[in-house]
């Protein structure tokens, strides 16, 4: 006699980031990974990463400020508009990937830089912030990786 039940015992949630898989992906896509690290480095050096981070965090405020600013300018040239559109574009996550891909091309032609070692990287993977961030990064990495196979 099976009594009806809605009770489900679930297995403990698996960690959101499976490091083994991650490492495997890194190893199998080392070329892509090296290239990606170059890109990150370039973005960091030029301050773009911090600007983006801020813009993403304060997206709404930023737009408010821009709107006020534009209002106070009165009738001006189309340059205002261009500026706004540019800022909006940068403030968007899609913008991030297009910047990354542009920078990626730049990196590819910018001569040989030494990528960080895999070992060093694996150590830093233990940090929570890095784990979290990697989820975003890994999506980009996948894209770059698969396009490098095409």
């Amino acid at each position: 006699m099976a009594k009806p039940t809605a009770r489900v015992e679930r297995k403990a949630e698996e960690p959101t980031l499976d490091l083994d898989t991650l490492v495997k992906q890194f190893v199998s896509r080392q070329e892509a990974f090296n290239e990606f690290m170059d890109v990150i480095q370039l973005l960091h050096e030029r301050g773009i990463l911090s600007a983006l981070k801020a813009a993403l965090e304060r997206y709404e405020d930023l737009l408010g400020v821009l709107a006020d600013w534009l209002n106070s300018m009165g009738t001006q040239s189309p340059a205002n508009l261009l500026e706004l559109v540019n800022t909006l574009t940068k403030a968007n996550i899609r913008g991030l990937s297009s910047i990354i891909s542009a920078a990626s091309k730049g990196a590819a032609t910018s001569g040989n830089k030494q990528p960080p070692s895999l070992e060093g990287l694996l150590k830093s993977l233990e940090e929570d912030d890095v784990k979290r961030g990697l989820w975003v990064v890994i999506q980009v990495l996948r894209e770059i990786g698969s396009s490098s196979l095409e």
């Binding site: 099976a2 009806p4 039940t5 709404e60 737009l63 209002n71 909006l88």
Partner: protein
């Protein structure tokens, strides 16, 4: 030399087309006669701007952009039919200046902020027209009306409304809900709901058709807002400031239009549009679903959607929250005593295979029953029955048609030979007269109802409604016949007898195309007007009137649904209806025939593809040795020869020990079958139960193994709608977690039982079906690409059959059979059970609600199941809206809130099927069945009602936002009344 172009006119049924010749901008072109000039020009590559014309809605004549010169006169191209010898000029200075004035006027009503508009997805008709016309500036005037976001699913922003009237045309004349109009007397004019009520307190049924057709962002799906654009997730105030600033700093809008075009291109990288078919009712609405990742942004039906055009109902348009519900099953579950634990697919499948094999060896293959899902695809139904027959070795396979439409199939098999609609919904639109029997069409098949209402409103089609319930369609009917529950057969036979008595039968048709008329005529004799009046309570005048209307109509369609089939005499009544159509020659011509209105999205297809105990795919009988031989050859196994158990009989078979295991796919049998207590008892008793599902349903709670299945959006396949129309669905995204498409799961089970199947895509399954089942010989995915569809039977060369019986009926001699129906007395009310409980769908919920309860908006509009009671009966019983009642039948009890309503009459009550707890109707239904089809007599339900006393919150079961409270406020009109616009002082009608 004159170049003559002959176009290929895709996607429309032009019949035998005759062509006329036009001279357009000096060029000669041939176009089909009678087509609007605008369409003819567009299809011959001549651009004429327009924003109010829509192929489904026709000419509305509000935008004035489509002006052209015809023979020197300015005319609107949308409302001008082509005629031979027309001389058309589309680009004269006069035309350009008129169009410019028209566009200026439109743009005073609409602020172009495209980059931050969720409608700017490359298909905004206004944006594209502005860009094409090279408009460089606008002077926008805002309107003093706030945005109305009081409907759970869409918003109206009067400030962005260009007053094109498409929404009005759609609501008034397309889906014919008659909720909105443009009030041209207001300053400035705007769209109003009922008598200018907030949308959330109006009679709007949330079908969303207005949002679909709105060319701009004025009526927009809430699910799009802040989601479609890259930069649109902005607070309205910020947006207001931004737009204000931009417009002040920029008078030339061309650069702005350019950047928004670029941005629209970027958006397309993140929005995916996938063609699919609605998973709810069997109208078979098809549409594109827009998704961003797993987020469903909107459902967009298209003019080329064959069954529905641009129409949908609330469920198909907005009822999709279930797909991303956190309650979705994402891993196989295995019972362990009083709970389930998660398991791997390997473990779950091998357990299923092992237990089914053990039971098969110990008790024989007929100790196992399989239920295929009616919301699964045809390919999945085919595999389900193949699993039952070829792998397990039993014909014990069935589907939910058993609960609803199996009697209709029986009636049609007996008389005309094919268990499906005789024609398409278009035939029911064309008919002179439509009779609906036991069909609450406006709630159960709303898009179909829209077509009937349209035919009535715009063309004066005649309508007879035969029903126990005075539902919405009664308001549209020329004649309403309300027999005592379960006595429809007597009404039908009395009409038939009156026709024979008057000599109105179609002699020629009867002689040439039927057999057995004399026996039928003889059996009609007892069905006199007096007898009918006594048994059914229908005054004889009404029966005479119905007979006369049928006699006078050149073409008659009969639509019938659960109000007919879910009775002990369900098969008999459908037989009688079909006999009546034969008697009057109403088969085989456009606008004639029998139309069982199927319930589930793919209940027709699941039966068509063989998930029935008596039929292999394509209704080929299992007890026919030749047929079996064909399948044995194709499948390489010996097949069982005796017909199997029906789904309802399986319950009995568990209880008497014949059935030991069940494999139920996508069906909540506990809620769906009659006599819930008995079904529960059976499912507790069955040795092994596998349930394949999206959710942990009431049925799944009894399972030994639960297999997580994919929703329709998560897989490829085909459905068959009520018209016999086969349509493709495409996968929009992957199933959640480890859930899989039913076809994959069935294949895993089959292979674990040694089958060795190797299907890698549903297309291969369809190819296999086409190779064996005659009805589907010409069906292929290629022929079903996109919005294309095929109506079975489909010949090898791809020729399909929109209208059946044009030259023969499906019997060896090609003649239809009059079949004498037997009258079975229905269960009547008694002193103890003095009320009669009718039950069925409500518009917003789908059946027992496993999908629709998970829609937040639908829950908000219909938060519970409730009992409708007539004012007289309520007074007699001392009941008020908001009271709770205890309803008892001979079998069980239900507790539900009361709503006093004039949608029921006398001692009849009504409850929706969507209750899942104390209000679940099948706690009351019993074991009576149609003896032929074994469909439960759900609708023969005498009950007692008593008020629940004591402390509880007394509140109306339906919130004020539900449309039912407001239907009396509707304002009916034809079209948008553009003449009223033209007569406004501020509208100088454009003259050249």
């Amino acid at each position: 030399m004159v170049v003559v172009e002959i176009f290929i006119w895709f996607g429309e049924d032009w019949g035998a087309v005759s062509f006329v010749n036009l001279r357009v901008n000096g060029r000669s072109i041939d176009v089909p006669a009678g087509a609007p000039l605008l369409v003819s020009l567009e299809r011959s590559g001549v651009y004429v701007p327009h924003v109010c014309y829509n192929p489904s809605l026709g000419a509305i004549q509000t935008c004035d952009l489509c002006f052209v010169e015809v023979d020197g006169q300015l005319v609107r191209a949308c409302s001008t039919p082509v005629r031979e010898g027309m001389v058309v000029d589309t680009e004269t200075p006069r035309v350009t200046s008129v169009r410019k004035a028209a566009m200026d006027r439109i743009l005073t009503n609409h602020n172009l902020y495209c980059t931050i508009c969720d409608n700017n997805n490359g298909d905004c008709e206004l944006h594209n027209t502005v860009a094409r016309m090279g408009v460089r500036n606008q002077s926008f005037k805002s309107k003093p009306y706030p945005v109305d976001s009081s409907n759970p699913f869409y918003v109206y922003d009067p400030n962005q409304c260009i007053l094109c009237g498409r929404c009005v045309e759609a609501c008034q004349d397309y889906v014919v809900n008659e909720v909105i109009r443009i009030d041209w007397s207001l300053n400035p004019p705007r769209v109003v709901w009922d008598n200018n009520s907030p949308i959330g307190q109006s009679s709007c049924v949330s079908c969303g058709t207005c949002a679909t057709v709105c060319p701009v962002d004025a009526i927009m799906e809430k699910s799009m807002i802040g989601e479609a654009g890259l930069f649109t997730r902005i607070k309205p105030e910020t947006r207001g400031k931004l737009v204000g600033a931009l417009k002040r700093s920029e008078t030339d809008i061309s650069f702005y239009m350019l950047t928004s075009d670029i941005e629209a291109k970027l958006r397309s990288t993140q929005i995916k549009k996938t063609k699919t078919v609605c998973p709810f009712c069997a109208v078979g609405c098809s549409f594109e679903v827009w998704t961003k990742g797993r987020k469903i942004l909107k459902v967009e039906p298209k003019s080329e959607s064959p069954a529905n055009g641009v129409a949908t109902c609330i469920k198909g348009k907005f009822g999709w929250d279930f797909v991303n519900s956190p309650e979705r099953l994402t891993k196989p579950l295995i019972r362990e005593g009083d709970h389930f634990r998660e398991a791997s697919w390997e473990e779950a499948i091998s357990l299923v295979a092992r237990r089914l094999t053990e039971i098969k060896h110990k008790h024989g293959p007929d100790a196992i029953g399989v239920i295929a899902t009616c919301t699964g695809t045809n390919e999945e139904a085919y595999l389900a029955q193949k699993l039952a027959r070829a792998v397990i070795g039993t014909n014990n396979v069935d589907n939910c048609a058993r609960y609803c439409q199996a009697p209709a199939t029986t009636g049609l098999f007996r008389t005309v030979g094919i268990g499906g609609d005789s024609g398409t919904m278009a035939d029911t639109e064309k008919a002179d007269l439509v009779i609906t029997f036991g069909s609450n069409t406006a709630e159960a098949h709303p898009v179909w109802a829209g077509k009937l209402k349209r035919a009535k409103k715009l063309r004066g089609q005649k309508l007879i409604v035969v029903d126990v319930k005075p539902h919405e369609m009664v308001g549209w009917a020329d004649l309403f016949i309300s027999p005592h529950p379960g006595t429809d057969l007597v009404v039908v036979n009395a009409i038939a007898k009156h026709i024979v008595d008057q000599g109105w039968e179609d002699r020629e048709f009867i002689e040439k195309r039927t057999v057995n008329f004399e026996a039928y005529r003889k059996e009609l004799e007892p069905f006199t007007l007096e007898y009918a009046e006594r048994v059914t309570g229908v005054p004889r005048e009404l029966i005479i009137r119905a007979a006369t209307m049928i006699h006078e109509a050149r073409s008659v369609c009969a639509i019938f649904a659960m109000g007919i089939t879910q009775h002990q005499n369900g098969s008999e009544t459908t037989t009688a209806i079909s006999d009546l159509l034969l008697l009057t020659g109403n088969y085989g011509r456009p606008g004639t025939g029998a139309y069982p209105a199927r319930g589930h999205a793919n209940v027709q297809g699941t039966s068509d593809f063989g998930a029935l105990p008596t039929y292999l795919p394509g209704y080929e009988r299992v007890d026919n040795p030749k047929i079996r031989e064909k399948y044995e050859k194709a499948w390489g196994v010996k097949l069982p020869m005796t017909p199997g158990l029906t789904s309802t009989e399986m319950v009995d078979a568990i209880l008497d020990g014949r059935l030991r295991a069940m494999y139920i796919m996508g069906e909540d049998k506990v809620l769906a079958d009659s006599n819930q207590q008995k079904v529960g008892e059976a499912l507790s008793k069955v040795e092994f139960l596998v349930v394949q599902e999206l959710f942990l349903t009431r049925t799944a709670q009894y399972a030994d193994v639960i297999l997580p299945a994919a929703a329709s959006l998560e897989k490829d396949g085909t459905f068959v709608n009520t018209e016999r129309r086969i349509q493709r669905l495409y996968k929009a995204f992957d199933p959640p977690g480890e859930a899989k498409a039913d076809w994959e799961i069935i294949q895993m089970v089959a292979n674990a039982m040694g089958a060795g199947w190797v299907y890698t895509h549903p297309m291969e399954i369809m190819d296999e079906v086409a190779g064996v089942a005659e009805y589907f010989a010409g069906v292929s995915y290629e022929r079903l690409e996109g919005f294309r569809s095929l109506l079975w039977p489909v010949k090898k060369d791809g020729a399909d059959s929109p209208l059946l019986y044009t030259d023969r009926f499906e019997f060896p001699d090609g003649r239809a059979r009059f079949h004498v129906p037997k009258w079975i007395e229905p269960l009547g009310s008694t002193t103890q059970y003095d009320m009669y409980l009718d039950n069925g769908r409500v518009l917003e919920h789908f059946h027992w609600g496993n999908l629709t309860w998970r829609s937040k908006g639908i829950r908000e509009l219909v938060p519970e199941a409730y009992i409708e009671i007539s004012p007289e009966a309520a007074q007699r019983k001392g009941l008020k809206t908001g009271d709770k009642v205890l309803v008892k039948s001979r079998v069980g009890r239900v507790v539900a809130g009361v709503m006093v309503s004039d949608r029921v009459s006398s001692n009849r009550l009504y409850i929706g099927l969507h209750g899942q707890g104390d209000d679940a109707v099948n706690q009351l239904t019993g074991d009576e069945r149609d003896p032929t089809s074994k469909t439960p007599a759900y609708k023969e339900l005498p009950v007692s009602v008593e008020k629940l006393e004591g402390e509880y919150e007394r509140r109306a079961p339906l919130p004020v936002s539900n449309y039912r409270h407001h239907v009396k406020s509707r304002v009916s009109q034809v079209g948008v009344k553009v003449e009223e616009k033209w007569s406004r002082a501020d509208y100088a009608q454009v003259k050249g």
